[in-house]
């Protein structure tokens, strides 16, 4: 923890992102990049992409991945640590009016 509360841009490992995709029961398509699709009641609700060629996601890239998942940093971390599950994700999407 620094002296000041700067915007802290956390690194994200690719396997960490894929772990979250799997926990959220997303359909994963591997290629040059990993594409993840979240369906609800037969409709595509969320689509996310993780580029592979750069290894670890650094700088602002984790922000864009989280943004595509409609999650903030805390929510993403909670899902990664198993304190939030698929049902919690549904609730988050419901609160954002993305599903009903």
């Amino acid at each position: 923890m620094g002296l000041f509360k700067f915007h802290y841009r956390r690194k994200m490992k690719i396997r960490e992102a894929i772990k979250v995709f799997k926990k959220l029961k997303m359909k994963i398509k591997e290629g040059n990049d990993t594409l993840a699709y979240f369906y609800y009641k037969g409709e595509l609700v969320v689509r996310s992409r993780v580029p592979h060629r750069r290894g670890e996601l650094k700088g602002n890239l984790p922000h864009y991945v989280r943004q595509q998942l409609k999650l903030n940093e805390d929510q993403f971390r909670d899902i990664c640590r198993c304190t939030k599950e698929y049902e919690d994700y549904l609730e988050i999407l419901t609160q954002k009016d993305l599903i009903s």
Partner: protein, 186 residues
């Protein structure tokens, strides 16, 4: 400093340096006008350039004030903490000065023609260039600006084919409606 609550002066300093409205920092704000030549050439205008420059100037003021305060209180903190703060400040300043707005007029794909240009934010976050299209909520990245834009173009084409075959929720349907209205398949 003896007996002073550290968190109190940290809060005060933060408030002073980072939360003071910029017009109270007594910096002359440069007067600038739109540059018609830049607009014709589809490159950042002088106005955009000066906005970035201005943001960078304010960031420099912030870092100067911050450094002065740190130097008077440095004994209270371990060097590693200060080094981490400086690293984060550098990243913040780099991010502030490196974002620009551009338009892409082609997907560089012979199968498609763009009817309208797509708005893109291009930034250097210190690790890579990232091109982000806010209207499509999609990004591309690369070591060079050109690579980030090419990656974005590829992503847009992938997005087009994905959305074309899927049943979409209303939030993504809006993106598809926009995307299909600006892309023409040859």
């Amino acid at each position: 400093m003896v007996g002073e609550d550290k968190s109190q002066w940290i809060d005060e300093l933060e408030r002073e340096v980072f939360k003071t409205p910029s017009h109270k920092w007594e910096m002359p704000i440069p007067v600038h006008t739109e540059d018609p030549l830049s607009a014709q050439l589809d490159i950042p205008t002088r106005h955009e350039y000066l906005e970035v420059k201005q943001a960078f100037t304010y960031a420099l003021i912030a870092i100067t004030k911050y450094t002065q305060e740190i130097s008077t209180r440095i004994a209270l903190y371990p060097t590693s903490t200060i080094a981490e703060d400086i690293r984060q400040m550098r990243e913040t300043i780099r991010a502030m000065g490196a974002k620009k707005s551009i338009l892409i007029a082609s997907l560089h794909d012979s199968r498609f023609k763009l009817k309208e240009s797509i708005s893109v934010f291009l930034e250097n976050d210190g690790h890579q260039f990232i091109a982000y299209a806010p209207d499509l909520d999609i990004y591309g990245c690369g070591d060079l600006e050109y690579e980030a834009l090419e990656d974005l173009r590829t992503s847009i084409v992938e997005l087009y084919f994905d959305f074309k075959k899927e049943k979409l929720a209303p939030s993504l349907q809006k993106i598809w409606d926009y995307l299909s209205s600006i892309i023409e398949e040859k």
